[in-house]
Amino acid sequence: MAADRQPAQPSDRLRSAGWLVGAAVAMVMVCLITVALDGIRGVLSRPEADAALYRTIGLNELALVPAGQLARRTEVIPGFTDGRYLPTLPRGNPGVVPLMDADRLAAFRKADP
């Protein structure tokens, strides 16, 4: 019978289509595993090292943006200002602080061998 004479390789491309399905399932599984691992990380490992140091240092700014940039400068955060004596207060220019002058660095080097 023809069934007995079936070639080792089937005459259709469904086997390779099977790889496609396998890859799709694998990708979805990877995604689910990522979510699961993220959940486990979220529950089990709150990073405490940075919290302890932050508490010790006592600042109320984070190193998310470079020091000196507006988003880092907590002193310009609009908070509560006591206006009994000073109805208007000057504010500094909140731009980036310029780098140290090269000649000043040279003077340092000379002064501190």
Binding site: A2, A3, R5, Q6, Q9, P10, S11, D12
Partner: protein
């Protein structure tokens, strides 16, 4: 066991767009005919007379504009689309154009009707290969259908029509591109189908039909109506 049948009752058909253009005569007029099971019925007629349309109506691809078609006593032409779709699983149709899907392999084309039915991949492959072997196409099973000759394509289409062992078989010019030997092979398969109880309707205008097919009944289509052939 009673044999099944296909029956046209006062069935007429015309294309609505043709009617709107003022065509006076419907493609098919009032047709009353019975196509019994266990028999091969030949429908002959000139080209363009409406043989293909009649077969498409019998296969449930079209609905008659008047009258009805009954399958095994049931008015299938009046059924809702969903029910007719399901009934069509019992029909094997061999189109005049083969309608193969070129990028699929020969075997994949053949197993197309099996996929929505119960069964698994192994079963489909077995059935498909058996049918291809009977039409001497098993060597080509892994070839893309686009690479086949006209005759081979027609036999693949025949294999596709017969692979599900349908109860109703309509074949439109099934051997137009076949040599005698292959035509006889296909005729033998149609005879086997009829012998197991299927309704077989073959449309052909080939004068040498009896060289490859032993028909049990012969109807002639002319001026939109069917008459017993003389």
């Amino acid at each position: 066991m009673l044999a099944i049948s296909l029956e046209c009752r006062q069935m007429a058909f015309d294309y609505p767009n043709l009617r709107s253009r003022g065509a006076a005569v419907p493609i098919l007029g009032e047709i009353d005919a019975v196509f019994p099971g266990r028999r091969i019925t030949l429908v002959s007629g000139r080209s363009g007379v409406g043989k293909s349309t009649l077969l498409h109506l019998l296969a449930g691809l079209l609905r008659p504009t008047q009258g009805e078609i009954r399958a095994d006593g049931q008015p299938v032409s009046r059924w809702l689309t969903a029910h007719r779709d399901r009934w069509r699983r019992q029909v094997g149709i061999l189109f005049q154009q083969d309608h193969l899907i070129g990028h699929l392999t020969v075997l994949e084309n053949v197993i197309l009707p099996l996929i929505p039915r119960n069964g698994d991949l192994r079963q489909w492959r077995t059935q498909g290969m058996e049918m291809l072997a009977r039409l001497k196409l098993d060597e080509l099973a892994g070839q893309p259908a686009a690479f086949l000759s006209g005759g081979q394509r027609q036999r693949v289409a025949a294999a596709r029509a017969l692979v599900g062992a349908p109860d109703y078989i309509v074949a439109d010019e099934p051997v137009a591109h076949q040599d005698c030997e292959n035509a006889r092979g296909l005729g033998g398969l149609l005879r086997q189908a009829a012998d197991r109880g299927a309704v077989v309707v073959v449309a052909a205008h080939d004068r040498h039909v009896d060289e490859w097919l032993a028909v049990d009944g012969h109807l002639h289509l002319e001026h939109g109506t069917l008459h017993p052939a003389s």
